[in-house]
């Protein structure tokens, strides 16, 4: 349903960060499992896409002139399983295979893709993409310099070798643990996903990169009843990992979180509406960084002058104890990447160092315009899309305070603990995140649970208002997905406990 997809896209403003859609109750495609025997380089083994073939397509792609060009071959297989009402009776699998072809001339991009990896079909797509260029400077593609895959998420057993018979007992275990934790738990659903993605990226200037990117996520949702009142909550864990990652302990932690988050909702209230100090608990509160600064630092917005951060590099934007980093090289993280989707080595970019705004996140196009090296931040959802600057794992480093000191410093405010989604307007700098669970803080003490409030702030203003940063930084293990211009990519985020001295909290009007 491309058309509806577009409508959704046109209606959304800014960039969106979400947890999986199962909470919305609409017909998410759920699904399935097992062993497809995919070769390590399917492009070569199935289609004979060797270096000579790749070079032939690259020549066609750059035939009308090109400053840059790339081919993005992708084969991914995703398996889903659903447990509801005590049984696993739904599986699904999705194979996405194709090659995206991009040619860049000045600031102009031509893009095409084909799912048919035969030479005639690839040449036809190359011709279509090349139509944007009208130059007659013929650029000879460079000889390929093949690079081996990196080692950030090597697995010993690919997901294609893990059968449903192995996954099923694990899902049943999650369900039984959730049911045994509280007698009010009425329904439990468990959603399983695993993926093997293989990419091969070839560029006009001779890069040839292959990568095997595993991914998995398990989600549990819990519905509990007390009398007439029903509440539901969830938790999930995700990583570029293999089957053995799912230890009993790891699953138990996830289940306990889900049950605790659900049961506390029976006693939770809305906080009073208005401006107040907001404490962001360590971990998932990294959503603040993603929305308040991360998106605004993506250089495509800045090269167009449309970000509120467009003229701020080198300026003081926060207290000296604030350092914010985007780093793709954290092993096995959901946002980790050996190479970005333009074939550049992914790395570590310091966005804010000791309170000073340092660097944007660049893809090839923006780096060229700024005269800088790309930061390895060019990412895309799939072969169907051209890459653009994106975040990977975004986090804040430890600061000088403790969590207890932060709580003690607040007279009347809230702590935010769990989130479902966030969004930002790049130009105005206004951003929001939705708090599912949190706590009231009164006179320096944690008092009552709160739920379901949106929080809104302005990026640069909030950075300035970070008055305390604790020493308990951690990355969240949840399966976050970032949406931008209609493309979704997996990301990670983290933060220590932080105090923002003033934000606008949704709630009830007391008067």
């Amino acid at each position: 349903m491309k058309r509806r997809e577009f409508l959704g896209r046109a209606a959304a403003s800014g960039a969106v960060l979400t947890m999986p859609a199962f909470l919305s109750g609409c017909g998410v495609q759920q699904a399935t499992a097992v062993a497809g025997k995919t070769p390590e380089n399917p492009f070569m083994e199935w289609f004979g896409v060797d270096q000579a073939t790749t070079a032939r397509v690259m020549s066609e792609l750059s035939a009308n002139g090109a400053d840059a060009a790339d081919l993005y071959f992708q084969h991914s297989r995703t398996n889903y399983l659903v447990l509801e009402d005590g049984i696993v009776s739904s599986a699904s699998s999705t194979i996405e295979q194709g090659v995206g072809l991009r040619v860049v001339v000045g600031e102009q991009t031509g893009y095409a893709f084909t799912e048919d990896l035969t030479l005639p079909s690839m040449l036809a797509a190359a011709k279509t993409a090349a139509a944007i260029a009208s130059g007659n400077t013929v650029v000879a593609p460079q000889a390929f310099n093949a690079k081996g895959a990196g080692d950030l998420y090597k697995t010993s057993v690919p997901w294609s070798d893990v059968g449903i018979d192995q996954k099923l007992p694990l899902m049943k275990f999650v369900e039984s643990q959730a049911k045994s934790m509280d007698e009010a738990v009425e329904k439990v659903a468990v959603y399983w996903a695993d993926q093997d993605e293989r990419v091969m990226i070839a560029t006009l200037d001779g890069k040839l990169v292959t990568d095997h990117r595993p991914m998995t996520r398990v989600t549990v949702t819990v519905t509990a009843r007390r009398g007439e009142e029903v509440q539901s909550g969830f938790s999930n864990i995700a990583a570029r990992e293999e089957f053995g990652w799912y230890t009993e302990e790891r699953l138990n932690t996830m289940v306990k979180e889900a049950v605790d988050r659900t049961m506390v909702l029976f006693d939770a209230r809305r906080p009073p509406a208005g401006e107040m100090p907001v404490i962001l608990a360590s971990g998932a509160s990294g959503i603040l960084l993603h929305e308040a600064i991360g998106h605004g630092m993506e250089a495509d917005f800045n090269r167009k002058g449309t970000s509120i951060y467009s003229d701020m590099i080198g300026k003081k934007v926060a207290e000296p104890f604030v350092t914010v980093v985007d780093q793709a090289t954290i092993p096995r993280e959901r946002g980790a990447l050996n190479y970005d989707d333009e074939g550049n080595k992914a790395g570590r970019t310091v966005l804010v160092e000791d309170g000073i705004l340092k660097s944007y996140l660049h893809d090839n196009i923006s780096a060229k315009q700024y005269g800088l090296q790309p930061t390895g931040s060019g990412r895309r959802e799939s072969y169907k899309y051209a890459p653009m600057p994106r975040m990977s794992c975004t986090f804040m480093e430890d600061g000088p305070h403790t969590r207890d000191e932060i709580i003690a410093a607040v007279d009347r405010g809230i702590i935010c603990e769990t989130y479902t989604n966030g969004q930002v307007q790049i130009g105005a700098g206004d951003y929001t995140f939705y708090v599912k669970n949190g706590w009231l803080v009164e006179n320096g003490k944690v008092t009552a649970p709160i739920k379901d409030v949106n929080i809104i702030g302005n990026g640069p203003e909030s950075l300035k208002r970070i008055t305390m940063v604790a020493n308990d930084a951690r990355l969240d293990t949840g399966g976050w997905t970032c949406g931008k211009n209609g493309q979704s990519v997996p990301v990670s985020q983290g933060i220590p406990s932080v105090l923002v001295s003033k934000m606008t909290v949704g709630g009830e009007n007391v008067s």
């Binding site: 097992v34 701020m312 379901d452 709630g507």
Partner: protein, 438 residues
């Protein structure tokens, strides 16, 4: 391009049968999508793609699974389907997982919904660029414009389905949209941003690109100087464009899956006076040239108009075959089509004048709702309503409440349904709404 998709779908069903499936339902889709984007006087991006995929639902031994692939190589497709059947056998049996019964698709309408415009398929590069230029020029008519990106998006989609119990059909549609996103220099480092997009199935239904570019610019200009509004309980007027997403949130848990899984605040309200008597919502898939029109849904269920809420009473929810059987509900359709909110008599300016003081919401920023309880909290942008008129622009505010309570206080409805959404909603007026701001 004129591949016989129905034959492909039928062949996949046959392969599934040979591999041991008792029943199978296959859908093959093909689309061509073209995108031209223009920024600040220059063509920036051209994307031209043809895409295809095959999906299949397998029913074997009381078990079920579903699969899709973009790899249509005949040999690997055969392996893919055999494997799909093998996967199915590894699952647990479920008596409610059955193929769509023939009775639900036998009498599907044959009506011509006029969803295909051959002039979309015939669009030339020159026409798309001319539209981009017209949008670009009008969207730049302000001295504070930093950047404007204009785009033309058009394409053709085909989707054919075949099943082991006799379904065989194909639906086609075209679309053509264009519009602009504008960024203006505002106070300090701030930028004001907004945009406007229009489109439909037919080129002839498009407004003038100049009017669209102007509207995009006007909406952005109205954001200039926006400040945080007050923390207050007051009336809320939601403009028609923003109202569509509010209606979508309200209807989010109105489906059999959410009800059967105990995650819907609608459950105890079905058949009851749940909302204000001013609210009537009908799901109508049979609107000629409608943005989400169809003759049958993804399960093959015959399309028909379905009242969801009538004068505030819930009359139906979205029921697919699986959760319908499991939850003892008669299938209606599993997915929304065109959702129409019954309009009222007053224009937007009359609504504002009736309200006198309050907040006029023009768009949302983030936020969410809990489908189990109906509790919601949303970020917003808009204007204060002062003396019955649109006043100064405000943002960085939240509105918080419960969807059932909110729609119980739906006081007035406008006569201005927003045409460029499959949720056709006029402006809505609510009383006693909790806003948080400064």
């Amino acid at each position: 391009m004129s591949v016989d998709l129905k034959a492909r779908a039928a062949q996949a069903v046959e392969l599934a049968g040979q591999a041991g499936a008792e029943d199978a339902w296959s859908t093959v889709t093909q689309s061509r999508d073209v995108q031209f984007e223009y920024r600040d006087g220059n063509l920036e991006k051209v994307k031209d793609t043809t895409s295809q995929s095959l999906g299949i639902r397998i029913y074997a031994g009381g078990r079920y699974s579903s699969h899709s692939t973009t790899d249509l190589d005949p040999e690997r497709l055969q392996d893919f389907i055999s494997e799909a059947v093998a996967i199915t056998a590894a699952l647990e049996p479920d008596e409610y997982r059955r193929i769509t019964p023939e009775a639900l698709f036998r009498d599907r309408p044959a009506a011509d919904l006029d969803l295909v415009d051959t002039s979309v398929q015939a669009l030339e590069r020159e026409q798309r660029i001319a539209w981009c230029q017209a949008l670009d020029e009008t969207a730049h008519q302000h001295e504070q414009v930093i950047s404007a990106t204009c785009g033309v998006y058009d394409g053709t989609q085909r989707s054919a389905s075949a099943s082991s119990n006799g379904f065989l059909d194909e639906q086609r549609s075209t679309y053509c949209w264009f519009g602009a996103s504008v960024t203006l220099r505002d106070q300090g480092d701030k930028r004001a941003e907004d945009g406007f997009y229009a489109g439909g199935a037919h080129v002839a239904d498009l407004p003038d690109p100049e009017a669209v570019g102007k509207e995009a610019l006007a909406r952005t200009v109205s954001r200039l100087g926006s400040e945080k509004g007050p923390t207050v309980k007051t009336s809320m007027v939601v403009d028609a464009r923003a109202a569509a997403s509010l209606i979508s949130r309200l209807l989010g848990p109105a489906n059999a899956r959410s009800v059967q899984q105990d995650r819907s605040f609608w459950t105890p309200l079905i058949g009851e006076q749940a909302f204000s008597k001013n609210l009537t919502v009908v799901d109508d898939p049979l609107i000629v040239r409608g943005l989400a029109s169809r003759r049958y849904d993804s399960e093959g269920i015959s399309a028909r108009a379905l009242p969801i809420v009538e004068d505030g009473v819930i009359s139906n929810i979205y029921v697919d075959t699986y959760y319908g059987r499991k939850g003892d509900m008669t299938p209606t359709t599993g997915s929304p089509s065109n959702r129409i909110v019954r309009p009222g008599d007053l224009s937007l300016s009359e609504l504002l004048s009736e309200v006198g003081e309050g907040v006029y919401v023009t768009s949302w920023l983030g936020g969410n709702a809990d489908g189990t309880t109906g509790d919601f909290s949303l970020g917003l942008r808009g204007h204060l309503i002062e003396n019955g008129e649109v006043g100064r622009p405000v943002g960085e505010m939240n509105v918080t409440g419960n969807l059932r309570d909110l729609f119980s206080r739906l006081e007035l409805i406008g006569n201005d349904p927003y045409p460029y959404s499959s949720t056709l909603t006029p402006s809505l007026v609510f009383s006693d709404v909790d806003f948080s701001g400064a």
